[in-house]
């Protein structure tokens, strides 16, 4: 049993380094790869013995751009819908194409579309049969900032409509922006699954930078404290994981004063989801 469950109407971000098994996991759920062992259930339906029921609920946007370039945009969406046993619905497909700014291209051959348009078309095709669960395998890989924002909006819109979104991404910023929950996968194993806000607060580490008024020549006085390091050619002290409640920062400031070291600026930043992700993967 893979220890991963998604909730209805949430955005679940699956993060992991290259080769961690994100795409393999999605492929196993969607029936693209052979499942050697274990059980995958989609809303209580088994993906092997009840594959029709499970696949009916799923829309998949793959990582690559696997499209039949000779077909028109509209017909391609219609093909996707038909595979799910649904008859042509011009209204539904045109609505999706309008949402994804592809309506004007509906009669054009896919060959003629730009990379960004092809990416949007794959999303349109995945939505053509009105899925309950949408798998997006790195949907914004290689797209420009503007399109990335458009895709994010579309994902949020789908969530509002009650669609469960499962997203894999290399862009941690994307997960930070969109996800309700985050799962981290490495070497084929789920390391952790948590609400994004819980994850951020539990693993939160503050980093404080103290800008010195002049270059520190003898840092021996702070060598005992492993949380402190000297950066920028001795002009800045970097304090990682300083606990606000234990007056650690005050102690360090006092230490600097006792050693006659002046400073010009103190700046504290929270670590990002990216830092948390890297910490978790590297400590594996």
């Amino acid at each position: 049993m893979f220890p991963l469950k998604s909730k209805k109407g949430e955005i679940f971000a699956l993060l992991g380094p290259n080769g961690a098994g994100k795409t393999t996991l999605i492929s196993a759920i969607c029936g693209l790869c052979r499942q050697s062992s274990g059980t995958i259930k989609v809303n209580d339906f088994d993906t092997l013995s009840q594959y029709k029921e499970t696949r009916n609920q799923i829309g998949l946007v793959p990582q690559e751009l696997p499209l039949d370039g000779f077909e028109s945009v509209y017909n391609s969406c219609q093909f996707s819908r038909g595979l799910f046993g649904l008859k042509d619905s011009r209204d539904h497909i045109e609505k999706i194409l309008k949402t994804l700014s592809l309506f004007d291209k509906r009669d054009e051959q896919i060959f003629g579309l730009s990379g960004g348009m092809k990416r949007r078309l794959l999303i349109a095709k995945a939505l053509a049969h009105e899925p309950k669960i949408l798998f997006l395998d790195e949907p914004t890989a290689g797209v420009d900032v503007s399109l990335r924002r458009d895709i994010w909006k579309l994902i949020e819109d789908q969530k509002k409509m009650g669609v469960t979104i499962i997203l894999t991404t290399h862009y941690i910023e994307e997960a930070e922006q969109l996800a309700d929950r985050v799962g981290i996968i490495n070497s084929g194993e789920i390391i952790l699954v948590k609400e994004k806000t819980t994850l951020m607060s539990e693993f939160s580490k503050k980093t404080t930078f103290i800008r010195l008024s002049k270059k520190l020549k003898d840092p021996s006085f702070m060598k005992k404290n492993k949380k402190i390091s000297l950066t920028e050619n001795g002009m800045t002290l970097k304090l990682v994981g300083i606990n606000n409640t234990s007056n650690e920062l005050q102690s360090i400031v006092n230490l600097l004063s006792q050693n006659g070291i002046a400073f010009t600026e103190i700046n504290t930043v929270d670590n990002s989801l990216e830092d948390i992700f890297l910490d978790l993967v590297e400590t594996q």
């Binding site: 969607c30 696949r55 793959p62 690559e64 696997p66 017909n75 219609q78 038909g82 595979l83 799910f84």
Partner: protein, 253 residues
Amino acid sequence: MNIQAAITIYKFEMARFRRTIFQSLVAPIITTSLYFVVFGAAIGSKIESINGVSYGSFIVPGLIMLYLMTESINNAAFGIYFPKFVGSIFEVLSAPVSSLEATVGYVGAAASKSTIIGLMIFLTSNLFVTHDIKYPLVMAVFIILTAITFSLFGFIIGIWAQNWEKLSIIPTLLVTPLVFLGGSFYSIDMLPEFWQKVSLLNPVFYLISGFRWSFFGTSEIPIALSIVAILSFMAICLLIIAIIFKTGYRLRT
């Protein structure tokens, strides 16, 4: 059963046929016409009639079979290989489509295309030779069975092939020689005894012979044997396809 999915795949594949209608239909018609000019008029005029049938008429069933088999294989192989090649096969594999529904869609479309081409060749032959068909119903059954069976075979080749070379290697190196050596353009009675026996090992010979029987009422072997041969080949192809889908061979990673 997801009949709509089978219809969708069928329509999608037929749309590809329509997009290339000129290449799909005109090329076989021109080539067939050349066969009739060369074999029927030029060489055929020097050959005596075979079992009371003029040589020009004799080669019609063989020519139709030649195209029916090769087009069935090529259409079905390309139909499944192309989505594999561009990656769009993921759509069919991740949709609620059973192996039967996918096979009906792809093979049905390939068989329809080759049947249309076969009929066009038959109509073209009427421009060069006149012939009455003795058993038109049997002819229709043979065309349909051959188109379906060889489309099933082509479907297997399309799944098996991992590159364009493999896609064409079996039709080129195996099927075309078998069709040419299966009596498309001659009666095996015209061969020395040894080669007559060798011809009996060629499965395509049974199909061409049976098909020719539907035209002229005569053939080298009993018609029942031809029907058994085609049904046996169909059963083998269906079994292989069932195993392919069961195991996911070269479809699922």
